[in-house]
Symmetry: C2
DNA sequence: CTGAAAGCGCTAACAT
DNA sequence: ATGTTAGCGCTTTCAG
């Protein structure tokens, strides 16, 4: 425990005024004579004074920090989302405390335990773990993105169902007869399942089998490639794939090409997400684009309302858009 | 300023002991009778007590937070780097405060102003702005990644010079006669320039012109595409490109293909970075891979040393690796 | 084994 | 226009 740092008291001493006055100068509050202001400023300069943020936070019971609890930032969707959240929060005067759970429930709990203890003014969550009770036990303002957490926590999500329909419909319109879908394993409480539901409903309406290959979010690329290879082996007739995210779509295309398939001639592929980075690196991918920036914006708006005490409940569903790449 | 939260004092009251005792139970310090411990625990449960992190931080003059100051997280290199830094810092008991400057000096300064005020225990920086003085003015432990900040701040970087040579050499070995390079505009104090220097030296040794097209980090994809189109118009003879990062490499390939070039037949391209996300989405890109995870690890080690007061100076340079994709 | 009291650095009533 | 004082919630000497 060090304590050499110059503090408000030292400035006061040098300037020959009281701590209150220095505090007032610092916060532009109350009436000050210009002379005093100058003296104080000079003393601050002289001492290289830096107000201690923590002390202020303790007093104000406010940290101007918002926690972001997501699986990882090393992924096109989350990278853009977190960047945008950071951007929007910055505007509102908040800084961001990162809490990437790596899909590890222990880590998610560890973050929560700490964050809920007055460390942040609010939380935006989008991690994929289940059954974490702590979210219920708190008064902290929370908003969720693309994840159902508990019923009093508002969710901001894209219209996943519509997206699922668009993707499937596009493949059907393209004349695909055997369309396969990829998604998470059942059981994760994610609006992602709506993509699957839409696919299944549409296939059923056409009296066609709905086949979903399940892929864990945190499998390695190699494991995913293995699954997709299996897909083509088990279903050589497949002529259309609706992948639940662009990374999987990309891997499927790679695997298919290695197996001699030509895209879109032999096989059509539609992805999901349409994040900046994927659009830059893989513009030829046809995909359902989520309005990621808008989602971030809306989440921050909701959170801000909750923080100032307004009753922001209910969820927000944002429209998606089909981006024509060339793979479908 | 709210103050309903249950605090240590409330727990003490319910348990019928003093604040000191509760604090001791909380921190497993000193001698306590089992009876007291149980009573206190029960009171905590009953009241849903959560120790206030900020108060503890104020007392201890330690936040267990590390600030990350980088341009953005929405980019394959920085996404992986920040994810990995988060990972390593988590291990050491630190949480991460994000400070993405968006290449905006004002924002970088705003972050610094705040972070240097006791908000974090240390800083890892890699933003690209110049001339920010505040880094010098502080006692805070700082480590930099791929950026020269000031002479007492250690830098962790890849061996950019070797990387630049490898890339250029590879293109020469491939038989390229007209190799063009892309890089940042001159003036940014980045080890990135070493890539350019290596390219220029090697070209000069072969008595070939060294031509560098300058591309701003934060230009839009469209602006970048325009520059690369210009590149092909002004230098139709080009048969090899060494891009200073994989995103540019990808854009160059796209532009070239649109102009009817076949890769690698008509044009060979080598990128730089080799981040996970690029490897997943664009495995066919030949690139110089930086050891991103290792860089994160070393940076955290250095920072940790500085935080505990060891004299960690000097810089770390890590080897790079050529990844054979197929574009060169 | 436990408690009283001081203090981390700052702010805001409430004086004057 | 400025100062005095109390206190944000916690930890830790120092006493007992």
């Amino acid at each position: 425990m060090k304590k050499q740092a110059v503090k408000l008291e030292d400035v006061a001493a040098v300037a020959g005024v009281s701590k209150t006055t220095v505090s007032r100068v610092l916060n532009h509050r109350g009436y000050l004579s210009q002379g005093t202001i100058d003296k104080v400023h000079q003393a601050m300069q002289e001492l290289h004074y830096r107000p201690n943020v923590i002390a202020r936070q303790l007093f104000q019971q406010k940290t101007n920090l918002v926690g972001l609890v997501f699986p990882t930032v090393d992924n096109p969707f989350f990278a853009q989302l977190e960047a945008q959240l950071d951007q929007e929060l910055y505007r509102q005067g908040y800084r961001v405390l990162m809490g990437n759970s790596q899909n590890n429930p222990e880590r998610e709990e560890a973050y929560l335990r700490q964050l809920l203890n007055g460390q942040v003014d609010g939380l935006i969550v989008g991690a994929h773990n289940e059954g974490i009770e702590q979210y219920r036990d708190t008064q902290l303002p929370i908003v969720s993105i693309e994840r159902w957490v508990s019923k009093d926590i508002p969710v901001v999500a894209a219209d996943n169902y519509a997206g699922g329909r668009m993707a499937t419909q596009r493949l059907l319109d393209d004349g695909c007869q055997h369309i396969i879908h990829t998604n998470y394993p059942h059981g994760l409480p994610s609006p992602n399942l709506e993509r699957r539901r839409a696919y299944e409903e549409l296939m059923q309406a056409r009296h066609r089998p709905a086949i979903t290959y399940e892929v864990n979010f945190d499998s390695t690329d190699e494991e995913k490639r293995a699954i997709f290879n299996r897909l083509f082996t088990e279903h050589p007739e497949v002529d259309g794939v609706f992948a639940d995210n662009d990374t999987n779509a990309s891997l499927i295309i790679q695997v298919a090409r290695k197996r001699g398939r030509h895209i879109p001639h032999d096989l059509k592929v539609v992805g999901f997400d349409g994040a900046n980075m994927t659009r830059t690196l893989l513009p030829e991918l046809t995909t359902i684009q989520q309005p990621i920036d808008e989602m971030a914006k809306r989440a921050v708006e909701l959170l801000q309302k909750r923080i100032v005490g307004e009753q922001a409940t209910g969820s927000v569903q944002l429209p998606v858009k089909l981006i024509d790449g060339g793979t479908a």
